[in-house]
Structure formats: structure tokens, C-alpha cells
């Protein structure tokens, strides 16, 4: 399939280098390029640091476009999408890939809308069938369901599921050629852009917490969370909750785990009084160890956890707190 054009991947980064989600997108994009023996290119908006460049060669990027523009160094979805749209054309790419992050999906939707192309979100794998169609798998229901499908037409626009692809570098880093690319930004390009960023201090961020203590409807009340808070304090954990809890107003939505809440990737998720609906489980698929406490031995969570304790959390959680305290003071 030598007539198939290359794959271009939009790469997000911060001061620490390429974002994890973009490393996964690069891995996905490389496997798509390999399926037709074509090359992998990347697009970076702003200036490429040495650590970003090192990651790109580690992930098999042959060419990278460094996009400079007047005023679009801050995130501006319409302008960034126009830059990528022009790059697809001038590089002749057959597919554009991005991470399925807020920005990745938004930029891809803008590319699709402005160029009149379909966009497929949250893909897990893809390979060329021929020069103009791709067989792919993608997530539905935040990953609780998978769709196998064929996408007709080029260039293909694909975003990559954030919790469905593992980042894997190539065996030997490749030489990455850097190309400068200039975008003349117009007024529309900058009509939507980040005007300010405000940091939020304090507390362990749920998405990055190493341990999450979860509470569901089974906690019973706002006051019922006191014991879970205490346990979380002892374990250096963040508290995560189900939608039943946020809907009842017991806890803020920022603590919700799940499809319409936060996706956690903790070493341990200790889920108490949560039944295990698919939309909740969609938020803890990346947790390494899952332990659940439930009065109902038939609750669905018990078939999605590593360990379970059957019983009343209002007894078990305080007893666990005492046991940990006793252990610490001895």
C-alpha cells in the first residue's frame, strides 16, 4: 500500500514535555502509519523544547512541524484547527490524529467542521484497509462499549481514547527532522482563546491521587462521610464519590468519579457503598487495585473489583480507621 499518505499527529505538551495522552496518541498514530508502511509526522504549536524533541524521536516521529503564529501561542481552537488543516494539505497527510483530551477533541471537531470532514472520537486502534478507508475500533459509553467500524474518506480525523491505548516507544529512536511552519492568524482564528489561567491550590487532585477512598449512596448522608474523610486523611488519599452522592448534594461534583466525572488512575481505589454502574466504572478502569465494601454480595461492583468485604461500611470504615491508628501508634 505504498500510495497511502502519511499520518500527522497533533502533540500537546507542557513544561515537563509531551503530555501522556499525546504519547498514547503518537503510539496509535505510528501503528496506523505502519499499517500502510507510511511515515509519521507531528505538529507542535509553539516552540519545541529539547525534551519534547527527544520524546518525538523516541516515539518514531520522522518529521515535526513547529507551528509559529502571531498571537496563537495561547490555546485558540479555531486558529489551531486552521493551522492543522493547512498542514494536512501541504504535507499531504492521509490522517490527522490527536489525543482524546478536551483540547484534542475540540481541535479535531473544529478541523472537521471547517473542512467538512467526519471526525471519529476516542479510537482504540486503526489500520488502513486501502488508500481511502480505515478499519477502526472506538469507545462508546466512555469505554463500556466498543464499536468496530470502517471509516470512508481521506483525510481521516481520529482522536485517541485516553484510557484505552498504552504509550510505547520505538526500539531505536529515529532522527526527527524539524520544519518551521508559519500561520498568518486572522481575527476569527483568535476569536476564541484562553484569556487567563487560574491555579487551584490545596488537596490531592482526584485525577492524580495515588489512593482514592470512594463513597456512594450506601454512605447514607453528608455526615456519613466523616469516617471516609478520616480514612482518606490517614491514607493520604483523595475522596471520590458516585453520582448518587453529588446529585443528593452531599459532596461537590469535583469529587465525582465516572463517565461524566473524573477518571482516576490510582494505585488503590477503595469503593464503599457504590453499586458499580457502568458509568461509574468508566471512571476507575485505570485503577491498579480495586477493593469494594458492600452489604450486597451480588452488587455488580463485586465482579469488577480485585477484593471485596461484604458488610456495612458504617461499621467497617470506622473500624479500619481505628486499626490503622492503632498500628501507627504501636
Amino acid at each position: 500500500m505504498s500510495n497511502v499518505a502519511g499520518v500527522l499527529c497533533f502533540v500537546e505538551y507542557d513544561d515537563d514535555g509531551v503530555a501522556d495522552a499525546s504519547l498514547r496518541a503518537l503510539t496509535f498514530a505510528r501503528s496506523l502509519a505502519e499499517s500502510s508502511g507510511s511515515s509519521l509526522a507531528a505538529a507542535v504549536i509553539g516552540s519545541i523544547s529539547s525534551s519534547v524533541l527527544a520524546s518525538l524521536s523516541l516515539f518514531g516521529v520522522n518529521d515535526v512541524y513547529q507551528v509559529a503564529s502571531n498571537g496563537l501561542d495561547v490555546y485558540a481552537p479555531v486558529g489551531w484547527a486552521r493551522a492543522l488543516g493547512e498542514l494536512i494539505e501541504s504535507s499531504g497527510a492521509g490522517a490527522l490524529v490527536a489525543a482524546g483530551s478536551d483540547r484534542g477533541n475540540e481541535v479535531m471537531a473544529n478541523v472537521g467542521a471547517s473542512k467538512g470532514l467526519p471526525m471519529v472520537a476516542n479510537c482504540l486502534s486503526a489500520s488502513w484497509l486501502d488508500g481511502s478507508s480505515i478499519r477502526l475500533s472506538r469507545q462508546r459509553w466512555a469505554g463500556s462499549l466498543i464499536e468496530d467500524a470502517v471509516l470512508e474518506g481521506v483525510p481521516a480525523l481520529l482522536s485517541v481514547a485516553s484510557d484505552g491505548v498504552l504509550a510505547s516507544p520505538v526500539q531505536t529512536p529515529v532522527a526527527t527532522a524539524v520544519h518551521e511552519w508559519q500561520l498568518q492568524a486572522n481575527e476569527t482564528d483568535a476569536s476564541v482563546r484562553v484569556v487567563e489561567w487560574i491555579g487551584r491550590g490545596g488537596g490531592v487532585a482526584l485525577a492524580d491521587a495515588r489512593v482514592v477512598v470512594g463513597g456512594g449512596r450506601g454512605v447514607g448522608s453528608e455526615e456519613g462521610f466523616a469516617a471516609l474523610d478520616e480514612l482518606a486523611g490517614l491514607l493520604g488519599a483523595a475522596v471520590g464519590v458516585s453520582r448518587a452522592v453529588t446529585s443528593a448534594g452531599w459532596r461537590p461534583h469535583a469529587q465525582q468519579v465516572g463517565q461524566t466525572g473524573t477518571r482516576i488512575s490510582a494505585e488503590l481505589y477503595l469503593a464503599c457503598g457504590i453499586s458499580g454502574a457502568t458509568q461509574h466504572l468508566a471512571g476507575c478502569r485505570s485503577a491498579k487495585h480495586v477493593v469494594t465494601i458492600n452489604t450486597d454480595a451480588d452488587a455488580p461492583f463485586l465482579s469488577r473489583a480485585d477484593y471485596a468485604i461484604v458488610g456495612d461500611l458504617s461499621v467497617i470504615v470506622p473500624a479500619l480507621v481505628s486499626a490503622i491508628q492503632a498500628r501507627k501508634s504501636s
Binding site: D102, P118, I146, L268, A308
Partner: protein, 255 residues
């Protein structure tokens, strides 16, 4: 202020997704239906804006005849104009959905004036395409931002907040504009009994729409193989605590 909210009827899948024998659809025979929490919040946000600033909340859905139920749910918390683009039960592509919504908006705006603000959910709960709002905004040449968890409205513009790397980033958009919101922007109210009664009787403007083929051709759906099958029971009640503590030590969580 005239606010339009677009909502989608989706099956309320529970603990396990069951597929039809041909594996092309979710078996919905045992299931209830709802709109996504993101869209519920979009309706609530629109109602709050109009309560503060005056105006009209219109809710629009594209879906089968049964989707009228979701319009009435939105009406029960305060929407007063209901528009139903009535289709058959086939699944629509996001491109076709956006096209049909744009046609409807052009028609509605001729009838009753421009919408200052059009709200979407960040993504539909079932297909999760992350794009219908953006496509509609482009076609109408209006600015658009996604993933919004806080919205401040003034006469000419909106200030929108979205979470980014442990903080919030701010966007300023001039009206009219399009905003896709996420759950957490507000806590939707429960419908009152009078609200429900009113919603039952409310007129729905019905517009028939023709299904169009998309570019993504479904071959089959499958439920992913889960890494975990069945939890090992550590014990009953507080008797299980020593076993749990041992695990916490083993995993390096307790030193």
C-alpha cells in the same frame, strides 16, 4: 435572552450492557431512557439564565417519537418551547445530526428571532462524538467553546471556565455564541409536581427529518473483556480488616 438547548435521548444502561443478537445495537427492551447529565445541566443553566435575565428557554431534540419524553423532562424544570426533529430509530452520524440541527435553527430563528446562546452537552452519553456543538457553531459562524463548568453572562458576552491541568482556564466569547457544558456547572433542580403537570400539556413543535448516511460504517458492537472477573471476598464485616491491612502493606500504601 433567548437560549436554545440541544439534548439527546439515550438508553439508561445499567450494570451490564446487553446487545441485540446481531451485535449492531444495544438491547434497550429492559431499559429506561434519559438525557446525559451534561445536557441536564445545560437545561438547568439555561433556565437559571432566563430566571435572572428574562427570556425564553427552547429545548430541541432530534430523535424517534419517544424522545418527546426527554423534551417534557426538560419542560418540567422550566423550558417553555419544545422542538422535536422526529426521525426513525436509526442512529444518526454527528455530521448529519449537526446539519439537521442547523437547518432547524435557521428556520426557528426566522420565526422567533435569534438565539443569544445555544447550549450543548460536552458529549452525548452513548456515542460520545464530541463534535455536534462545534459543527453547529461553524455552520452558523458563531464562536464556540467546549467542556465548560462555569458560565457568567453579561449583555454582550460570556465568560466561560474550563478545567485544565489542576486549574481553570477562562474564555471570553461575544454573543451570540455556542457553549458545550459539563456536569458540575450546576446542580439541577428536581422537577416540581406543578412543573410536571405543565410539561405534560405543553405543545411540541414537530419537524420530520430524513435520516442521512454517515461516513463511519458500523460493523459490530462488543462489550469489552474486563480485566477483573470476580472479587476475592476478604471476609464479612470488620473481621476482614486484618486481611485488608495486609494488602495495604503489600501494595506499599501503609508503610
Amino acid at each position: 435572552m433567548n437560549v436554545l438547548v440541544c439534548v439527546k435521548r439515550v438508553a439508561m444502561v445499567g450494570a451490564r450492557i446487553v446487545l441485540t443478537p446481531d451485535a449492531r445495537e444495544v438491547d434497550v427492551r429492559q431499559l429506561g431512557f434519559t438525557i446525559s447529565p451534561h445536557e441536564e445541566c445545560a437545561v438547568e443553566e439555561a433556565v437559571r439564565i432566563v430566571e435572572r435575565r428574562g427570556g425564553v428557554v427552547t429545548v430541541l431534540t432530534l430523535g424517534p417519537p419517544e424522545a418527546a419524553e426527554q423534551l417534557r423532562d426538560a419542560a418540567s424544570i422550566g423550558a417553555t418551547q419544545l422542538v422535536h426533529l422526529v426521525s426513525d430509530a436509526r442512529e444518526w452520524s454527528p455530521v448529519a445530526t449537526a446539519e439537521a440541527i442547523v437547518e432547524a435553527i435557521r428556520h426557528l430563528e426566522k420565526q422567533s428571532g435569534p438565539y443569544d446562546l445555544i447550549l450543548f452537552g460536552n458529549e452525548a452519553a452513548d456515542t460520545g462524538d464530541y463534535q455536534v456543538g462545534v459543527r453547529v457553531a461553524h455552520a452558523l459562524a458563531r464562536p464556540c467553546v467546549n467542556g465548560i463548568k462555569n458560565l457568567e453572562i453579561s449583555d454582550e458576552s460570556v465568560r466561560a471556565r474550563r478545567e485544565f491541568r489542576g486549574g481553570d482556564e477562562l474564555y471570553d466569547l461575544t454573543l451570540p455564541c455556542v457553549v458545550a457544558v459539563k456536569e458540575g456547572i450546576n446542580l439541577p433542580r428536581y422537577p416540581s409536581l406543578p412543573g410536571r403537570m405543565r410539561a405534560k400539556k405543553m405543545a411540541i413543535e414537530e419537524v420530520p427529518v430524513e435520516w442521512r448516511e454517515g461516513a463511519l460504517h458500523l460493523e459490530r458492537l462488543r462489550v469489552p473483556v474486563e480485566p477483573r472477573e470476580r472479587a476475592e471476598i476478604l471476609g464479612n464485616g470488620a473481621d476482614a480488616i486484618p486481611a485488608l491491612i495486609e494488602l495495604l502493606e503489600q501494595w506499599g500504601i501503609l508503610a
